[in-house]
Symmetry: C2
Subunit: 302 residues, 2 copies
């Protein structure tokens, strides 16, 4: 259950920034058809920070219903308030989520919790639900999560089973965390578009939560690796690394939607304002790297 | 309309973190009775970052209805998404807000807009409403707003009439901003619990948006100053500065609720988790400094 590729579904908007649920359903179908072992929705790559609460609910309901049990769905439910995060997580469970993912509490540049506050936060969420929790350790939160604290959270709170590490030196952190937390950590995960995937697999990651750009490829990399075929996994990863690197360093969350638009899966690739569009030249560079490799995202809807 | 003291109403919770609307109504009555020239709600000092969207709506409706036109109400409507910020602002206007206040778009430690994105953001909000906009220039956002950009926003976008400056060197920034923006800036405001109020008034501030702890005192300081009685304003401010300093440097947003609880205005002084409670010794220090000065917050409900 905690192995493989769990791509993040981008949130699809029309050119005016309204939700486009028809495109959203095609995104879900593409990710499932691409062999995703599960989907993650309402994550940072899904522009969760640009959504109102009622839109989060609409999206979660629409996507979980459309997945219809084909794969497990992870809903991101981060919020500064423990009470609101617990309520969001309970709601996700009601809608059929199989896991929730949360960053530690944060707001803006300056508002953070202390260590006891972080522990109490995750305990409040765990007490509110019966499904497993993924801790997301990401630079967006601006919260340093030492491995000692992560290990404490994993071992003290039953519901916490997975950690997605996407901070600098992710592989070293995963290795240390696996050693500290032991078997209570059932899912040590790679993230950040898979830009450190091979090193993270070497460190003991059992899965990855990348973008939805090339889940077909990244899932194959993970499963080859876990089946003991490290050389094949390494070669396949190396072939796609220029595209992953370009996504991670040049495009961010705009990359997946650009290729989904290019491949005819979605109507508009617009992110919500004030996130700026890709420069035309940057977009052209992305599409060129993708076309040379012809991933499913460009072929699926054709 | 843009002079005087516009205190921020803290959001009142019960010990479990649920909204306490009865205490909230008494907070409103206290602030109005204390001589507030207007109220600001759902600000950072109101723990806006710990609220769900439906709670924001409940609070805005309850407080604007309870004020019932006695003073103008400013609603903070910040959000990363221009679309969501515009919708929140429109909703505030519908509910009877007389102004809205927004920080520039931000999320967490890493997600920010570029300059054109910031201008388009405020334009989208201004296009959605007919009431004036206050730009909040605060460290929480993690966005540097150079005076050239603030002056551009004020002069290019009709609805932007006020700026609340609460970043380091606030007085110098206000002075420069007033010179650059000219008469289009109708309300250069001080903020941050009034910790720089005298210097900001010297720089040309016409009002302040402090906490709701001592609006009776800070309003009198502003009006004495604006009436040309600088010495009296300075002496009164100096008398309360130890309390303001203790609030600003030791207590943050917990101070107002502690004194409102001490004065019998509200039932619980709890902030929402994971914001930690004041240490007992810190709270005692605050109460002692307040008792020596006997501000209205300790007397109003007795």
């Amino acid at each position: 259950m905690y192995s493989g590729v769990f791509p993040i579904a981008p949130t699809t908007f029309d050119e005016d920034g309204a939700l486009d649920l028809a495109s959203q359903a095609r995104v879900v179908d593409f990710l499932v058809d691409a062999g995703a072992d599960g989907l993650c929705i309402l994550a940072n790559y899904s522009e969760q920070f640009a959504l109102a609460d009622d839109e989060r609910d609409t999206l979660a309901q629409a996507m979980i219903d459309h997945v219809a049990g084909r794969v497990p769905v992870i809903v991101t439910t981060s919020h500064y308030s423990a009470r609101v995060a617990a309520a969001r997580s309970r709601r996700a469970q009601e809608l059929g989520a199989r896991m929730v993912m949360l960053m530690p509490p944060y707001h803006g540049a300056t508002i953070r919790a202390n260590e006891e506050g972080i522990v109490a936060f995750f305990r409040a969420v765990a007490d509110a639900i019966a499904i497993p929790i993924v801790i997301q350790d990401a630079p967006v939160s601006g919260v340093a999560l030492p491995t000692a604290l992560l290990a404490r959270l994993i071992t003290e709170i039953d519901g916490i089973r997975l950690v997605k590490v996407e901070v600098p030196s992710a592989a070293a952190k995963l290795r240390e965390l696996i050693a500290r937390a032991g078997p209570a950590l059932e899912g040590p995960f790679d993230g950040e578009e898979g830009i450190t995937l091979l090193a993270d697999l070497d460190a003991g990651a059992t899965g990855t939560m990348p973008s939805g750009m090339i889940p077909d490829v990244l899932g194959r990399v993970v499963w080859l690796y876990l089946d003991g075929q490290r050389d094949e996994a390494t070669a396949l990863y190396a072939r796609y690394l220029p595209l992953i690197n370009y996504e991670n360093r040049q495009c961010g969350l705009l990359a997946t939607k650009a290729l989904m638009k290019e491949g005819g899966i979605i109507i508009s690739e617009a992110a919500r304002a004030p996130t700026p569009a890709l420069h035309r030249a940057t977009r052209a560079g992305l599409v060129a790297l993708a076309r040379q490799r012809d991933p499913l995202v460009l072929r699926w809807a054709r």
